[in-house]
Symmetry: C2
Subunit: 400 residues, 2 copies
């Protein structure tokens, strides 16, 4: 057979999936595994979304407009206006998940060989989208001691080269849960403007902000209206990850025209899931209030629990439903594998995502792991106790 492509070789495997074979061994031994490794929430999808599917006319499941149903875009624009983001349906392209929005965004703006700057640790699949688009990721390291705040702006600016085309952020952040302040975003805005770059912001966790924190959208940074591309998705907001409905949003008409050409080539985003997504827009505020309250409690159980374990450090995030914790171990890759293979507490163990896969710089994050607090409170309490016991007996324990 002929050789495969270079992309096939460099395409990273998901860091979350490396441990799956070990999890399978754990199941085979009859262990119960608390899955803190993946952001699949257990929260119920809103009734209005499900009802919209049940009520939909599916006689012929037809293509939608390549940019998504006009009616859905209209109502989605209204949702944004209600959250203080002044856009119209023309600024919205409905995509197959946030993933496709990023791919179309990268391909519309960047040439193969171009560089994109991303604060690390970052959502690991950005690497995959960069490989697909032929881009080079240039990381700027955010530190766990700073709770993963935006690195000093001079540090970011030093990374800007002739090849830099865009800066990419996720806010609130996956995997850190960090919510950028308005001031941090304005510092970013200044260098985006100064160097005439594109600014991509993945804002899919917008509704998950805690302790009264209010998120600032990049769409509201004045002076770079033509440079900003927002990525969104219904996956987390309405706990409907499987719908695969996202959006690419920009006030820049040229970007929207280019992205539409990519969208036309793949014909249309999923039709049935658009009915669900349109229905989801009817979700009452009470749903979000309840979900946020639940996540605050889960976060507190998880983060306070982790910090009560000797040698563990976990900054308390203000958004999303992830945190990154530092463990007193030789390597979280080994520790996470050991948890599945060797350890159990009363038949229970924990699966986490080693953080090294979320860093682009080799060697970073080796003592850190990402935890998704997407399980019920009782499970989270048990998971913390598992980790407490595990660290007492883990042979690779190491304080530093």
């Amino acid at each position: 057979m002929p050789n495969l492509s270079q992309k096939a070789v460099t395409m990273p495997e998901s860091p979350i999936r490396k441990l799956v074979p070990f999890a399978e061994k754990a199941y085979a031994k009859g262990k119960n595994v608390f899955h803190l490794n993946i952001g699949q929430p257990d929260i119920k999808t809103p009734d209005s979304a499900i009802q919209a599917v049940r009520d939909a006319d599916l006689d012929v499941i037809e293509y939608s407009h390549s940019a998504g149903f006009p009616e859905y875009r209209e109502k989605l624009a209204e949702y944004y206006r209600n959250t203080g983001i002044e856009i119209t349906q023309e600024d919205i392209l409905i995509t197959t998940g946030g993933s496709e929005a990023l791919i179309f965004g990268f391909m519309s703006t960047c040439n193969p060989g171009d560089e994109i700057i991303i604060p690390e640790p970052f959502y690991a699949n950005y690497n995959g989208f960069a490989v697909m688009s032929g881009l080079n990721v240039v990381p700027v390291t955010a530190k766990i001691e700073d709770a993963f705040a935006l690195p000093p702006i001079e540090q970011i600016e030093r990374k800007i080269s002739e090849k830099t085309k865009a800066i990419v952020i996720c806010n609130p952040g996956n995997p850190t849960g960090y919510l950028y302040s308005k001031e941090e975003l304005e510092r970013l805005r200044d260098i985006v403007q100064k160097h005439d770059l594109f600014l991509f912001a993945d804002e899919v966790y917008r509704e998950f902000c805690y302790d009264g924190a209010v998120p600032t959208s990049v769409m509201n940074l004045s002076g770079i209206e033509q440079n900003v591309i927002m990525i969104d998705s219904v996956s987390k907001r309405y706990s409907m990850c499987g719908a695969r409905i996202g959006a690419l949003i920009s006030r820049n008409k040229e970007i929207m025209t280019a992205a539409l050409k990519f969208a036309q080539a793949r014909l249309s985003p999923p039709t049935i899931a658009q009915f669900a997504s349109q229905g989801a827009l009817e979700t009452p505020q009470a749903y979000f209030d309840e979900v946020v309250q639940e996540y605050v409690q889960r976060r507190d159980i998880m983060v306070d629990g982790l910090n009560s374990i000797e040698g563990v450090f976990c900054p308390k995030p203000s958004g999303a439903f992830y945190c990154v914790a530092k463990f007193p171990v030789d390597s979280t890759e080994k520790f996470c594998q050991w948890l599945l293979e060797e350890f159990d507490k009363d038949g229970n163990t924990v699966m986490m995502a080693p953080a090294s896969g979320f860093y682009s710089t080799t060697g970073l994050g080796e003592q850190e792991a990402r935890i998704a607090y997407v399980l019920n409170q009782n499970s989270l309490k048990q998971a913390v106790e598992c980790l407490r016991e595990a660290l007492k007996v883990y042979p690779g324990r190491k304080i530093k």
Copy 2:
């Protein structure tokens, strides 16, 4: 703002959509437009597909496995085995439409700058997928006088260069409706084997073969099992274009491993539509028999009708639901626009897709148009009569 990418510039606009503004003018004038320009069938989606959605547990619309639900893949493998294609679920990756399957296939096998050989006229969106993957399309011209049969194999072989990585076919073909014989496919097989290339076959119209013709799948060409990638989709087979469920199929484990990495980056194909697609597998044979019978009648009305118009030539295809006809006009681009802007017969007119957009070689297909016979028989009869009258009065009429 910064410049957009080269891809944004070279990404082709869909040839089918160029006429949309003129169609909108026609509607505004109150004309009825027979849409022969797009392959959106009016056939009802099978009940079992719709029922599967209604019955699905949608409490939490979760991600599926990145390769698609194992149960769906299992049943799909069984469908293929029933059609004489011996594969297992491990040879199947469920994708977001056939489009994504081609993109993942191209990116897994070809490097930017590589060449792919495609008999023209071909499905225009292959151009878009090639641009996304950085590939160069090398066309080999099939002729309308030969009913768009496979061009002589020496002609194809002459196009093979150091850069050639794959040959791409669509069988039965969009836009031609031509069904390749086993002998034609074996000739292709021989040069694929000789030059160690990949062979992509888009077989989404498999169920639409007429006059007793039986399609040969590339999966059944012996000797190139490791070189073959089949693209499939539920869109046309079950008249559910909006589901966006397709498949990449290969017995080559390395390709499947690479494609899975691309699939993992985008997390999962649409969940709800996978329920529909799994349900669709229960569709009784009677459904297809009825659909095929209907399409044969539609094809005969359309093709016989076209050939009864002086100066028009349309080979009668054995598959899919398209045909390409040659018209006695200066340019079908102009003629199709004129039909919408200037012409009507008792308030009716016709929208067709000028064929030049389906050729990669500039200047070809200028007198040809693609017609999708996806309307009811009465509409098709009226559409033929529209064309007959139109050609009597079209100012750009030209016999040659």
